[in-house]
């Protein structure tokens, strides 16, 4: 199971990457593995606004559907359109293939997220 350092993680298995003032959200390798072959990613629309822990979309496999939640409050700046055609990209690399790019509207939300070490512990507990 790959857990990338330097990212923030939510209990519901989303990651948040902040680089050069831009914020990206995806699901963890653990989450993609649990789901199996992803067949569809339900993406939000650019401009949609969400609070932390709101569901902004869903990832679907053949036998399961899983809502994905905002790790922090934010506005959707872009969605990864490649996932519309090729949802399996998330299976191939869950960290490379972000789902949404957002503008964080409440920086304090970041404080409650986990780092990679804490997330690894969290996964172990769940298992």
């Amino acid at each position: 199971m790959k857990i990338l350092e330097g990212l923030y993680y939510a209990k519901s298995h989303e990651w948040l990457r902040i680089e050069d003032g831009e914020a990206f959200v995806g699901i963890s390798d653990f989450a993609q593995h649990e789901l199996g072959d992803i067949v569809f990613v339900d993406l939000p629309s650019v401009g949609d606004e969400f609070d932390a822990q709101d569901s902004f979309g869903a990832v679907e496999s053949v036998k399961a559907a899983s809502d994905i939640y905002m790790p922090v409050s934010g506005v959707i700046l872009a969605v990864n359109e490649m996932l519309e055609e090729s949802p399996e990209l998330i299976n191939e690399d869950a960290y490379e293939n972000w789902i949404i790019k957002i503008k964080i509207t409440d920086e304090t939300d970041i404080e409650v997220l986990m780092n990679s070490v804490q997330y690894e512990e969290h996964i172990q507990e769940e298992e």
Binding site: V39, F40, S61
Partner: protein
């Protein structure tokens, strides 16, 4: 014809046809005179051009690729795949039933109305309820109707704070989906270690926001909910109503009745308990029965009797409203009625006794070989767990291997609370010899799985197609033929 792989459109050849209409004998004008050009279709539909023999052979070949109850054993848990008597089909296809318009003058359809009225009476007696609507088209629509009644009941009492429906975690997915359909919220409660409702968990969630509880009894584990009277009392005390999902009525006909257990609303699945065919996914019928003070809420029209004649009552001010375009799946109701006539009171009781005996026999023989998570007498079905095989094969592999032995596998991976679940419901219409053969095959497959798991992983190998790529189907859906 195992390798027949044509679509009907593949047989198409310009100039062939399978229909003949009489000549149009009225004075006719060009189409443009009736319908302005801009209202006419431009693109021709890409439909087959075949002759009658093509149609017959094509669909006969397709039918050969299907497995039905008439083919063999079909122990699909929670689906009650029992024999569909042929007299039912014959009666439902009498011209006097099929060739009727729903808006014909009531005087001209007294036979149909009498049948509906009497069927409602019989179902009321069988379930211990006071009135029935035969309109719901399926179990799921029965649930929807039932929850609409619950909501309307609370609305009429101005008790609009009640918006929560409680379901056990062993429930079928339809229950929560229906809760959403009436704008309510769901509360799922855990089952206790015996697979029943956890009484403490129930008490903890009951309050003045409780609209109702949905329950099936016997439960999806095939176990009778012994606390049912107490459960009903608690929900009623909290101000909620208790809804009975009749999926499993086949276990208790003539032995116990939902009405006597304290249920306020029930739906039945006529395509399960009352032998109407499943039809490859429908049509079924999901009549809804209620206790006396809820009768006014039933969908309209209801069938009523006045002296010796019957009529449809559309004037029912408290009704939840209309739920179907006409009066429901009449043809299905004719079949169920025929079945009840055939069986009679004693026959129906014998159905439940034999169904429960068959299930317990299978359970007693299989629990020596498979994990039985809850070991007690069961009702019409029971659930095994396939976790013992997990290092080598999964329940899915067992199910697929069964296809090679020419039997339909049980329901798998349901209920969700049992890992690697196999839910087995033999029904009363199977012989001891069939049950024994099933036991033999189950044991044999287990042995194969231990000795040569590849056999299971590769199964099925004898069917018209082998395991299908569902991921491909869902990623790039192809849902119609292309030109």
């Amino acid at each position: 014809m195992k390798n027949y792989d044509k679509l009907i459109i593949d047989l198409s050849k310009k100039g062939r046809k399978a229909y003949a209409l009489p000549d149009n004998d009225v004075d006719s004008k060009p189409l443009d005179d009736y319908l302005p050009k801009e209202l006419q279709r431009v693109t021709e539909p890409y439909l087959p051009e075949v002759y009658e023999v093509d149609v017959i052979r094509h669909y006969t070949n397709l039918s050969n690729k299907n497995y039905g109850v008439d083919t063999g054993f079909y122990p699909l848990g929670s689906c009650t795949m029992k024999y569909n008597p042929k007299i039912n089909e014959d009666m439902a296809s009498l011209d006097g039933f099929t060739k009727l318009h729903p808006y014909q003058n009531e005087n001209t359809v007294q036979g149909s109305l009498a049948l509906l009225y009497d069927l409602g009476q019989k179902l009321s007696e069988i379930t211990g309820m006071d009135g029935f609507s035969l309109q719901p088209a399926a179990g799921a629509q029965g649930e929807l109707t039932g929850l609409m009644i619950i909501k309307k009941y609370h609305e009429d009492r101005n008790d609009t704070k009640r918006r929560k429906i409680i379901v056990p975690d062993s429930s079928h997915g339809t229950n929560p989906a229906t809760v959403t359909a009436v704008g309510y919220d769901i509360i799922e409660i855990k089952s206790d270690k015996n697979g029943g409702v956890d009484m403490e968990a129930l008490k903890a969630v009951l309050n003045d926001e409780t609209a109702g509880l949905m329950l099936t009894n016997p439960s999806t584990l095939g176990l009778f909910e012994r606390n049912i009277a107490e459960i009903s009392r608690l929900v009623h005390e909290a101000g909620g109503l208790v809804y009975y999902d009749g999926a499993n009525l086949n276990a208790i006909m003539g032995i116990a009745r939902p009405g006597d257990m304290g249920f306020d609303i029930v739906h039945l699945n006529l395509h399960k308990t009352f032998t109407t065919p499943h039809g490859g996914g429908g049509p079924g019928a999901g009549p809804v029965g209620v206790r006396a003070d809820l009768v006014d809420y039933l969908p309209y029209p209801t069938v009523e009797k006045k002296e010796d004649s019957y009529y449809l009552d559309h004037n029912r001010p408290k009704s939840i409203g209309r739920i179907m375009g006409f009066y429901g799946q009449f043809g299905v109701l004719v079949r169920a009625y025929t079945y009840i006539l055939t069986m009679g009171a004693e026959g129906l009781k014998r159905v439940s006794e034999a169904a429960v005996l068959n299930a317990n026999y299978l359970q007693s023989q299989l629990k020596e070989h498979f994990k039985l998570p809850i070991d007690s007498i069961c009702k019409h079905e029971f659930v095994l767990s396939g976790t013992d095989g997990l290092s080598q094969y999964r329940t899915l592999d067992m199910a697929k291997r069964m296809l090679d032995y020419g039997i339909h596998p049980p329901t798998i991976y349901f209920p969700l609370i049992i890992d690697e679940a196999m839910m087995i419901e033999p029904t009363e219409t199977e012989t001891l010899e069939t049950l024994d053969r099933f036991i033999e095959i189950m044991i044999k497959i287990k042995k194969e799985g231990e000795e040569n798991p590849e056999l299971l992983h590769n199964a099925p190998i004898t069917t018209v197609v082998r395991r299908l790529d569902e991921v491909k189907a869902a990623r790039k859906p192809v849902v119609k033929w292309s030109r």
